[in-house]
Every structure is written in structure tokens, then in C-alpha cells.
């Protein structure tokens, strides 16, 4: 369950305050995969930032009984001067995973990301594909109740894509996603309900097709 209670969020811009949401309330029931759709600038990414606690709301709160991931495939948290292994260790440490648990995670990521000897080289020397694989592998090493995914899911070559898809599908038997995407086919495939964001309001559709229709009616692309 994720409940938004009177969520208000605004940003200061050069031309004054821009309100993204005002008093947004919404409850997403447990066990449902959620698609967040809306036009560019409708506040999808802002809502994701709030869900992942990168940013805090001006007022109101987000209540949940589950564990929410960091944005899956996040690469900003990788430090270039540190090796892939040390970056994974860092993520383990902030999650309170130590000792044997940490070794287990490291083995998992090394296995998953297929970086070979690069795993012990600084991340700055990685290609963008390698970096994405490391980031995705790290996300998959931790079990959450909700995985927050902003658009990008498939990275790497065909082989890696197939593997990440199967791992992710396995993970989704126990966990859910909150997915932001403009790709309606992906939304149809992965989500049980959609939240349509439009002009600071959010509408929850338990029928995915209905939500997509509302989004397309509001001027979104198919």
C-alpha cells in the first residue's frame, strides 16, 4: 500500500513558484503494479522523486507499509573513482548489510553484471553499458516491495536484456513496480492499474485501458 496524503509540492523558478501538485491524495492498494502516465511536465518524475525520498513534499506525506527501492538503474550514486565492487559495498553499507550478507550481494552483482575483471576497476573507466549493468544489478541485489522505475528498464545487449527481464519477472512474483513510461505497451504488459497525472491532479484507473484512453484524450501520444 502506498498512500499519498494531501501532497503539495512546488518548485521555485526564476519566474516565481510553480506548483506541481496541490493537496494530492491517492491510495494505491497492496499488490498492484502501478503505471504512472501523463504528458511531459505533468509531474510524473516529481512524484517519483517524492516516492524515492530524493525530494520532500512541501506539505502532506507519503505513507507506506512496504519497502520502496531507490530509482532502479540509478547511476548518479556511482562514484567514478571507486571500483564497481566498492560502489556495491557502499550501497550495502547504507542499507545496513554487512559481513556475509555483503559478500553475498557482491557475488550476486558480479555474477549478474558480467563485468569480468572490470568489477575491480574504477567505474569511470566503464562504458555506459557496463555502468548501466552494474546499476541494474545492484538494484536487483536488494529485495524491495516496490521497485521504482523511471522509463528505462532494458539496458545492455540482447543477452543481458533477456536475463534482466527474467530476473525482474521473477522478482515481480513477490514485489511490485511503480513504473513511469510513455510506452503504453509496456504499461499494458506490466501494470495492473494506472495513475494518470494531469494538471496537478491524479486519477486512479483500475482498468488500464481506461487510464490509457484518458491519457490519450488529454493529448498524450499513443
Amino acid at each position: 500500500m502506498i498512500r499519498l496524503e494531501n501532497l503539495t509540492k512546488s518548485y521555485l523558478t526564476m519566474r516565481g513558484r510553480k506548483v506541481v501538485f496541490r493537496d494530492l491524495s491517492l491510495e494505491i492498494p497492496s499488490g498492484a503494479n502501478v503505471g504512472l502516465i501523463g504528458r511531459n511536465g505533468a509531474g510524473k518524475s516529481t512524484l517519483m522523486r517524492l516516492l524515492s525520498a530524493v525530494d520532500l513534499p512541501d506539505a502532506g506525506k507519503i505513507v507506506t507499509d512496504g519497502r520502496l527501492s531507490w530509482p532502479v538503474g540509478l547511476m548518479g550514486g556511482m562514484q567514478g573513482t571507486m571500483t564497481g565492487r566498492d560502489n556495491v559495498k557502499f550501497v550495502c553499507r547504507i542499507h545496513g548489510v554487512r559481513g556475509a550478507g555483503m559478500r553475498e550481494k557482491i557475488d550476486y552483482v558480479r555474477e549478474f553484471a558480467q563485468l569480468g575483471s572490470y568489477f575491480d576497476e574504477p567505474v569511470a573507466t566503464y562504458s555506459s553499458g557496463m555502468r548501466a549493468r552494474l546499476a541494474f544489478g545492484t538494484s536487483m541485489a536488494f529485495e524491495f516491495d516496490y521497485y521504482l522505475i523511471d522509463e528505462v528498464l532494458a539496458v545492455g545487449d540482447a543477452d543481458f536484456k533477456a536475463k534482466s527481464r527474467s530476473v525482474f519477472a521473477e522478482r515481480l512474483t513477490k514485489a511490485c513496480v511503480v513504473l513511469v513510461s510513455h510506452n503504453m505497451n509496456l504499461i499494458r504488459k506490466m501494470c495492473d492499474l494506472v495513475v494518470h497525472l494531469d494538471r496537478g491532479r491524479a486519477a486512479l484507473y483500475t482498468d488500464v485501458e481506461q487510464g490509457i484512453a484518458a491519457y490519450q484524450g488529454a493529448g498524450g501520444e499513443s
Binding site: Y11, L12, S52, A53, V54, D55, L56, R67, L68, W70, P71, L74, M75, G76, G77, M78, Q79, T81, M82, D86, F90, V91, R93, I94, H95, G96, V97, G101, P122, F142, E143, F144
Partner: protein
């Protein structure tokens, strides 16, 4: 379940520890000899003026060894400058880290300050050890007081750094100004020569700079027979440190600092 429930304190402790290791490894790991540069750079800061002025001004300050005068003046000044600027810019660096919900900006600040204090302690141990080998009496007669002065320096730097960071979120140009202020501050804090060299009537103005109090207090506690000038004392820097830390923390609560990070 592979993520155990932790209390807020445990989370903060884990995060600060992780950030601390990261900070140290990124400082030391820039190149193969990275750990050497961490020491060499600040040591060079000290060694050149000592070599340059040490001989010229040998008898400049009666009864005081000039190299020790310099080291104990530099110690609080460098600590102040680095922590202040580092905290001010801390909102910009490590932005990606804040995407992990456990990591708060304050944790980044705390880890940076701790890492810097640890590095500084090593640097000054090396410098003082070197001077001891050369036959100087390096050990301070009032070590606990000296430690207190340095702790106050860290607090002042941290408070002002947060304040500058908040101001920088209003207008980034203010950060550039803050950075420029450090150039005259170097001379106005009496690092290379004692501020008693300045005309008597300037003293009231010079004493408005809290750093000069700390620099002189550091020397007063570390050098035997080093007298404190009448205008200087612990009360003023303490008041400024408390006021700026209070304001800095208040602005942090109001998210002025994290707004700059966004």
C-alpha cells in the same frame, strides 16, 4: 527479508560510516600515489612559508619560534577554510547519493567534516613530528585548551559553511564572493605575521573577524609565553559559531540547503 529494520540512529550511523569510507577512498584513490598527495599538499602549504619567512623573520617575534608560530596559526586557519568551503559546496557534490533514501545531506556534511578532521590530524602530526626532529619544542603546554580551540574552529567553519550554502541557494554568485573573502582573510587573520603589527586603531575592526581570535588562541595555548592581545578571546568566536550553526541548522530544516542541491 534481507534488509533489517533499523532505528533512525542506526541508519544514520551506517550511512555516515559508508560515506566516510567513500570520502576517504575518493580522496586517497585519485591516483596510485593519492594518499601521498593528501599529505603533501597541506604540508607544502606550511613548509614554503616556513622556509621563506622562517629565516627572514627569525627574530621577528621575540621569545617565539617562528615555525611554530606559523604552524599553530595555519592549523586553525586551514581547518576553518577547508571545512567552510567544503560544507558550502557540499550541496553540489554527491548529489546523486541523495537518491538513496537513507542518505541525507546532513550525513554528507558530517562525513566530510569527519574525514577532513582525520586527514588534518595526520597532516599536523607529520608537520609537528618533522619540527620536533629539527629540535623544536612542539608540544603545546595547554593541549586540552588547544583541542577546544580547534573544535570551536570546526564548529564555526561548519556553521558558516551551512549559512553560505543556504545563501548560495538564493544566488550562486554569493558563493564566489565567499570564496574571494578568504584571500584577504589570510592576511587579516595574522597567519604570516602577528596582527599586533597592524596599527593599534585597526584592532577593533580586525577583531570583528572571528578567525583571528581562533588563530591567536591557538598560539596562546600552544606556545609558551605567547600573550593574547587584549581585544581577543574565546567569547566572540563562540558566539559567532553558535549563532551561525543555529541559523545554518534552521535553514537546513527549512530545506534551503537541499533546495540548492535539487
Amino acid at each position: 527479508m534481507n534488509i533489517t529494520a533499523r532505528t533512525s540512529f542506526q541508519i544514520q550511523r551506517d550511512v555516515v560510516y559508508a560515506l566516510l569510507l567513500r570520502e576517504i577512498s575518493s580522496r586517497f584513490g585519485k591516483s596510485r600515489v593519492g594518499f601521498l598527495w593528501v599529505l603533501i599538499e597541506p604540508v607544502a602549504h606550511l613548509v614554503f612559508p616556513i622556509a621563506l619567512f622562517g629565516f627572514v623573520l627569525e627574530r621577528a617575534i621575540p621569545g617565539v619560534d617562528y615555525p611554530l608560530f606559523l604552524v599553530y596559526g595555519f592549523m586553525p586557519f586551514l581547518l576553518f577554510k577547508t571545512i567552510c568551503l567544503q560544507t558550502m559546496d557540499g550541496t553540489r557534490a554527491n548529489r546523486g547519493l541523495l537518491s538513496y533514501r537513507q542518505v541525507l545531506l546532513m550525513d554528507v556534511f558530517i562525513a566530510k567534516v569527519m574525514a577532513h578532521c582525520a586527514v588534518s590530524a595526520c597532516v599536523f602530526a607529520v608537520v609537528l613530528g618533522g619540527l620536533a626532529l629539527l629540535g623544536f619544542e612542539v608540544l603545546p603546554p595547554l593541549p586540552i585548551e588547544l583541542f577546544g580551540v580547534l573544535a570551536l574552529t570546526v564548529a564555526l567553519a561548519f556553521g558558516l559553511g551551512m549559512l553560505f550554502a543556504a545563501l548560495g541557494s538564493v544566488s550562486p554568485e554569493l558563493k564566489t564572493i565567499a570564496r574571494l573573502v578568504f584571500i584577504p582573510l589570510y592576511f587579516l587573520s595574522g597567519i604570516l605575521f602577528p596582527i599586533s603589527r597592524f596599527p593599534e586603531e585597526w584592532m577593533a575592526w580586525l577583531a570583528l573577524n572571528p578567525v583571528v581570535h581562533l588563530v591567536e588562541l591557538s598560539r596562546h595555548t600552544a606556545l609558551p609565553d605567547y600573550k593574547l592581545l587584549p581585544h581577543l578571546g574565546i567569547a566572540y568566536p563562540l558566539a559567532v559559531a553558535m549563532a551561525s550553526t543555529f541559523m545554518g541548522l534552521a535553514l537546513y530544516r527549512l530545506r534551503w540547503l537541499s533546495r540548492a542541491a535539487a
